[in-house]
């Protein structure tokens, strides 16, 4: 029973994905179809168009195996030896430096806003 329910719910999630595909094809927007499907599903849950129980098991299944689904494309690196060139090393270096910079700036910013918010709340009381 559990298996049948999970499969049926995977079906519902797949329908949302294809709704996303249809919308992207009709409008020609540059957002991935899966993101359009994600937003549609979130809105459907939020406005109670569907119950969370209708997708819960299917979603839990997908999330447990999420990383499995992107392994095939990742293996595509075998067709891209240019990563081991000088340009490839610069690419990796840029990503590392940019990530460190982003963590520092975002952390500082978030802490500053948080303290401002806390101070504003203290002021009210």
């Amino acid at each position: 029973m559990q298996i049948i329910r999970t499969i049926a719910q995977i079906g519902i999630l797949t329908i949302y994905y294809y709704l996303g595909v249809v919308i992207v094809n009709l409008t020609g927007i540059f957002i991935p179809a899966s993101i359009v499907g994600l937003i549609l599903l979130w809105l459907s849950l939020y406005f109670k168009l569907i119950k969370v129980q209708y997708i819960q098991d299917g979603a839990t299944f997908f999330l447990a195996f999420l990383t499995l689904f992107f392994i095939p494309s990742t293996i595509g690196v075998v067709d891209h030896p240019e990563l081991l060139s000088k340009a490839g090393l610069y690419l990796i270096l840029a990503v590392i430096v940019s990530t460190l910079f982003t963590i520092a700036l975002t952390g500082k910013w978030s802490q500053w806003i948080e303290k401002k918010e806390a101070a504003a709340k203290d002021g009210e009381q």
């Binding site: 949302y16 993101i35 939020y46 990383t67 293996i75 430096v97 982003t102 975002t106 910013w109």
Partner: protein
């Protein structure tokens, strides 16, 4: 026959490595990494072309779209947290998104990187499934994008705590939001060492910045590239 072999070896290896990871939760033991490295080694050693592997691999890849849709479920469950910290979380996500995009863009321009490499690097701070779909949408090299996402993840997991110390970043929200939006899942896994709230904020930041990035990355590419 080859197609079936590709599917079974991918799923089989993944399940084995997932079990190993449950016992031994180190970032370099992540099933995506160990499974991919093993399969790449097999393809290279036995000189199997990638297109042959993909005859089966494409069937697993086809599940990626619906699996990304499933991310709506945790985002729906965490809706209370979003409303509670809406200003600090949402403004920080915007800061993270823009600083990540602008800094990697300027660095690569400085290194005189090719157009294709620029497009490939833009989605690097998004969680892998979404980064791959964004990379495909804007015309990047999808497998390289996936690899760069992992590098961004490991950078955050390994060096994030050092940055926290140097920059005196010491609240759950700021730690969660910065690692979640710059280093996605791998970065968030490091937050287990800080606490429950760090993880919730971190995974929320990861999910929201992926949705935000799916809009902003293509827009950035459209305007600047």
């Amino acid at each position: 026959m080859q197609a079936i072999l590709a599917i079974f070896s991918t799923v089989g290896l993944f399940l084995i490595y997932q079990r190993l990871y449950a016992k031994w939760s180190k970032p370099y033991m992540l099933p995506i990494l160990t499974t991919a490295i093993t399969l790449v080694a097999v393809l290279l050693i036995f000189k199997i072309p990638y297109s042959t592997y993909m005859e089966g691999g494409q069937w697993i890849h086809k599940m990626l779209g619906p699996a990304v849709v499933a991310l709506a479920y945790p985002l729906y469950n965490q809706r209370k947290l979003v409303f509670q910290y809406k200003y600090s979380i949402l403004s920080s996500l915007l800061v993270a998104m823009l600083s990540g995009l602008v800094s990697v863009f300027l660095l690569l321009k400085g290194f005189k990187a090719s157009h294709a490499f620029l497009l490939t690097a833009l989605p690097k701070s998004l969680t892998t499934p979404i980064a791959m779909q964004v990379s495909e949408t804007i015309g990047g090299i999808v497998p390289l994008s996936a690899l760069l996402v992992m590098i961004a993840g490991f950078t955050g997991a390994l060096l994030g705590p050092i940055i926290f110390k140097l920059a005196k970043i010491d609240t759950a929200i700021s730690r969660g939001v910065s690692l979640g939006s710059a280093s996605h899942g791998v970065g968030v896994s490091k937050l287990t060492e800080y606490g429950e709230k760090d993880i919730s904020i971190g995974s929320l930041a990861m999910g929201l910045s992926a949705v935000l990035g799916a809009f902003i990355c293509p827009l950035f590419a459209l305007v600047f590239l």
